[in-house]
């Protein structure tokens, strides 16, 4: 029951919200936070109930849903999904609190936001491909509205582009899912059963199935060349929505590859590894250079997401190498870390933008003395993002590279990817220099430091960044057994 509660508490909240009158903004906000907090509480309970020592699916719920098609309502968690569920419930609660500044059409905003949370959580716990697809699509519509109604100047264009890209990907994913269903013997949408039959999914036909699924996942990650919706959507979306977009939605893509493609199509996965390394390289280096070239802080952080998801892909591509374990652990840890770090960076940019109404790096300068707390937070998170040891980002990026260097045949591309780290360091350091150091721009005399609510939203994320940087074991222990099992399953070793 606990997983169903986690998934559907936010949806329940969304429908309760519809019954409230528009004018009761305080009540609406409070209820939204209440339901998200309840989901977080249950997810913490699930965390304590989850045993990281085994790769088994846990807290399983399985009921027949559409027997005619053999579809089940089938939920479960393992070491791969548990960290992402926690990430989702934490970031959702924080983003909802960060959304208190929304003053227009408050009821609709929180309605869509809570529905989005249900969709994301559902993706991470669904073990039936049909159910997985339903939740996958459930994230689409709320996000479309959240960007399109409450976004920046080019919000409608951004929303449509986001929707078109994702829908194009997901219709092919649907065809891939159906192809898997018909390939199964007996036919089933059950991911675990399909994974057990994976040794029979061999041949060129399944390469096509893999590619169809991959397109759906790659758009979300976003992996080059499907990434062009991301900078636009991130920049136009309101702060809290950018947090969710970067923090959770992108992870659905990498999660999907690990959960569906890796587990069910190992042969095609092995075939795809060299291509994945190349894509990771392009994401890392191209994303970093694009970020370097931005003058808008939010755009810079957005492109840094392309770069960071590249690390994640690189870690995943370590699968067939000699350091598979390090790479895969790094990849999953990177998903969590990127969610925390980039999420907080978007929140911090939002803090600045709310007051200054500009995000152009050139407009600022010398804010360090004026806003000490803000500067400290921003610096810590930028450092974490560029991979400073002692902070979360370092651990996962290091593991990703460690794993990737186990791919002896592709050392050139892995080595070249290191350029990305240097460039990332360069643009984040330059950002800190241009915004916080140097002569103070008198124009910002009236800026205040962070408010209590802003502290409440960012401080936990900063604390987590430091905690994971110092003691990543609590996360790694959670996923170790599952990932080892997955590696064994795919490589057959």
């Amino acid at each position: 029951m606990s997983l169903s509660l986690i998934v559907f508490l936010p949806l329940l909240g969304a429908f309760v919200m519809l019954l409230l009158p528009n004018e009761r903004k305080g009540l609406i906000r409070g209820l939204a936070v209440f339901f998200a907090a309840a989901a977080l509480a249950v997810s913490l309970y699930a965390y304590t109930a989850h045993n990281g020592g085994t790769a088994e699916m846990q807290l399983v719920e399985r009921h027949s849903w559409i027997p005619t098609f053999g579809i089940h309502y089938y939920l479960g968690v393992d070491g791969l999904s548990m960290p992402l569920i926690l990430l989702t419930t934490v970031l959702s609660l924080i983003s909802l609190i960060a959304s208190f500044g929304i003053e227009t059409r408050v009821k609709e905003y929180f309605f869509w936001f809570l529905m989005l949370e249900t969709g994301m959580l559902g993706v991470f716990v669904a073990l039936d491909l049909f159910l997985f697809y339903v939740f996958w699509e459930l994230t689409l519509v709320p996000m479309y509205f959240l960007i399109g109604v409450w976004g920046g100047p080019k919000k409608e264009y951004a929303a449509v582009k986001f929707f078109l890209y994702t829908l194009s990907g997901s219709v092919f994913m649907l065809l891939g899912i159906l192809a898997l269903y018909f390939a199964g013997n007996p036919r089933t949408f059950d991911m675990l059963q399909l994974a057990q039959q994976s040794s029979t999914f061999i041949g060129p036909r399944f390469i096509w199935v893999f590619l169809a699924l991959y397109v759906g996942f790659a758009v979300k990650i976003p992996a080059f060349p499907f990434h062009t919706w991301l900078p636009l959507a991130h920049v136009e979306a309101p702060t809290a929505v950018s947090v969710i977009l970067a923090g959770v939605l992108l992870k659905m893509g990498t999660y999907g590859i690990l959960r569906v493609s890796y587990a069910i199509l190992p042969e095609a996965t092995r075939w795809f590894m060299p291509i994945l390394i190349l894509i990771a390289f392009v994401n890392i280096v191209y994303g970093a250079y694009c970020a370097m070239n931005q003058r808008d802080i939010k755009r810079m952080v957005a492109y840094s997401s392309v770069n960071h998801m590249g690390y994640c892909l690189l870690g995943m591509a370590a699968l067939t190498g000699s350091n598979a374990s390090a790479g895969m652990t790094g990849a999953v840890l990177q998903m969590v870390n990127h969610g925390i770090i980039t999420g907080s960076l978007f929140l911090l940019v939002g803090v600045l933008y709310d007051q200054a109404h500009t995000r152009n790096i050139d407009d600022f300068g010398g804010l360090g003395a004026k806003l000490p707390v803000f500067t400290a937070f921003m610096t810590i998170q930028a450092m974490a993002s560029l991979g400073l040891p002692g902070l979360a980002g370092f651990i996962s990026e290091f593991l990703c590279f460690l794993g990737a260097f186990g791919q002896k045949d592709y050392l050139l591309w892995v080595s070249l990817s290191v350029i990305g780290i240097v460039v990332t360091a360069a643009f984040f350091l330059k950002l800190i220099k241009d915004v916080f150091l140097g002569p103070f721009n008198r124009r910002w005399e009236g800026l205040r430091d962070m408010s209590a609510r802003e502290l409440l939203t960012t401080a936990p994320l900063v604390a987590l960044t430091i905690l994971i940087g110092v003691y990543p074991a609590f996360l790694i222990q959670m996923m170790d057994a599952t990932l080892a099992n997955l590696i064994r399953h795919v490589t057959g070793g």
Partner: protein, 469 residues
């Protein structure tokens, strides 16, 4: 020979004639006319359910066969017409004092009776007669608002195309009779290999083109947008649903063996063309009735896909999609009528800022549009899912599934032009939306059906399974 099989047709015809007769003495009031019609339809639905033990064996000298799939479509049709009655109740164009409700509902019932007969016809001659019953009544219904020049134009167009396509159909049927010496479908289903190929191909060609016109498949669709735009909106809703369901009913009876006749590739191309042209043309429409006209063309392209796939799974998916289409398309028309009544326009502008004026209506419209696009968890997705599934089972048709997938993405653009207008544009008026209870009820039921059958589709799937064992 049991009249029980014809009970629904008899009930509807009797009610229709009663209404027409009453009207010739003095005008029948709206409530009475619609009440009698609704009762007749309900009785019709019950009587279909009453003969549920009947098999699909031909009766009346092989003229009709009321199989379970025909009964499924008959119930679907009558439910659709019930909804059309609810849509008509407060439709603006019908509110003039001299509007003859008796004639209107009488003709609608007669047309429905024709459609019911069409779904259970087992002989090409009866197909033709039923088709003409539907056509003649539909011509009048389209042009029912005589003072509206567009409606008259639409009626003339509809009449010309209808007459032309009937001619083609008769021509095809006459060749068939010349070849086989019979018009009975049961016997025609086993074609004699001795029949000369050319005349057979000709006959199939004429019959298919004739049906292509009736079902508005591309490239025989040109008439549809004009007729849909000109007709009174409830009649447009009727035309976009009922004849299509019945048409596919006939196809299921007449051409289940399209593979043996080597028609499958031809039908597959027809399907791909229909969905692509329908969707691309819909992109440019500002008038919502034209938009929905092209949308319904595209939707029939999807349904045809299931027919092309054939076999039990394929034909089941046709029925599933038609049921889904009934709910979501009627819902969409209900929204257009509700907004049209308020904004006095049939263009996209009427939907501007609707979210601010009536969030429930805006959400309901969004549900229908999402469902038509094929996004879960709505019934349209279940329909598309089963269509895709049916097509993917035959390796030679994967390209058709890919074409349909791409088409779904294209269709998003125009279905969401409504959503954009409702949620992203500021309202041009601040007054709250007013909606008649009948319309609201119809809309609510359609929305409920779209959501419930999407989240819990098992009941629908079971019904279809029983309709096509």
């Amino acid at each position: 020979m049991s009249f029980a099989f014809l009970l629904p047709e008899i009930i509807l015809t009797a009610a229709a004639l009663t209404l027409l007769l009453l009207e010739s003495f003095r005008p029948v009031r709206r409530g009475l006319a619609l009440g009698i019609s609704a009762l007749a339809l309900l009785a019709g639905i019950l009587s279909v359910a009453g003969v549920s033990s009947a098999s699909g064996d031909p009766t009346f000298h092989g003229m009709i066969s009321v199989g379970p799939e025909a009964r499924f479509l008959m119930v679907l049709l009558m439910l659709g017409v019930l909804a059309v009655l609810a849509l008509s109740l407060h439709f603006n164009g019908f509110q003039e004092s001299d509007f003859s409700w008796g004639t209107f509902s009488g003709l609608l019932l007669l047309s429905t009776a024709g459609l019911l007969l069409l779904t259970c016809a087992a002989d090409l001659l009866l197909v033709l007669i039923a088709l003409e019953t539907v056509s003649v009544t539909s011509f009048i219904l389209v042009g029912f608002l005589r003072k509206d020049r567009r409606a008259s134009e639409a009626a003339i167009k509809y009449f010309l195309v209808g007459a032309f396509s009937t001619g083609l159909l008769i021509y095809g049927i006459s060749i068939v009779y010349g070849l086989a010496g019979t018009t009975n479908l049961q016997r025609l289903l086993r074609p004699d290999p001795a029949w000369p190929a050319l005349p057979l191909a000709g006959a199939l060609f004429f019959i298919l083109v004739g049906f292509g016109f009736k079902l508005a498949l591309v490239p025989f669709h040109m008439w549809a947008p004009d007729v849909y735009e000109g007709a009174p909106t409830p009649i447009t809703a009727f035309l976009s649903i009922a004849p299509k369901a019945a048409g596919f009913g006939v196809m299921l009876h007449a051409l289940p063996n399209h593979g043996a006749l080597r028609l499958t590739p031809f039908l597959a191309v027809l399907s791909a063309l229909t969905m692509s042209v329908g969707n691309l043309a819909a992109l440019r429409q500002q008038n919502l009735k034209r938009l929905l006209a092209y949308s319904s063309i595209a939707q029939m392209g999807y349904v045809l896909m299931g027919f092309v796939a054939g076999g039990t799974t394929g034909f089941r998916s046709v029925l599933i999609y038609l049921a889904a289409y009934l709910f979501m398309n009627l819902g969409a028309f209900a929204c257009v009528i509700a907004v049209g009544a308020d904004a006095k326009t049939e263009t996209l502008d009427g939907f501007k800022g609707l979210a601010g004026r009536s969030l429930p209506l805006a959400l309901a419209t969004t549900v229908f549009m999402l469902s038509l696009t094929g996004i879960p968890p709505f019934v349209g997705f279940i329909g598309k899912f089963s269509l895709f599934g049916a097509v993917l089972q035959s390796p030679g048709l994967v390209w058709l599934a890919v074409a349909a997938a791409v088409n779904s993405v294209v269709s998003f653009a125009y279905y969401f032009s409504l959503v954009r207008a409702m949620f992203f544009s500021p309202p041009d008026r601040s007054a709250r939306m007013e909606m008649s209870p009948a319309l609201a009820g119809c809309l609510g039921l359609a929305a409920l059906g779209t959501v419930l059958a999407g989240v819990f589709p098992e009941t629908l799937l079971q019904l279809v399974q029983r309709a096509f064992p």
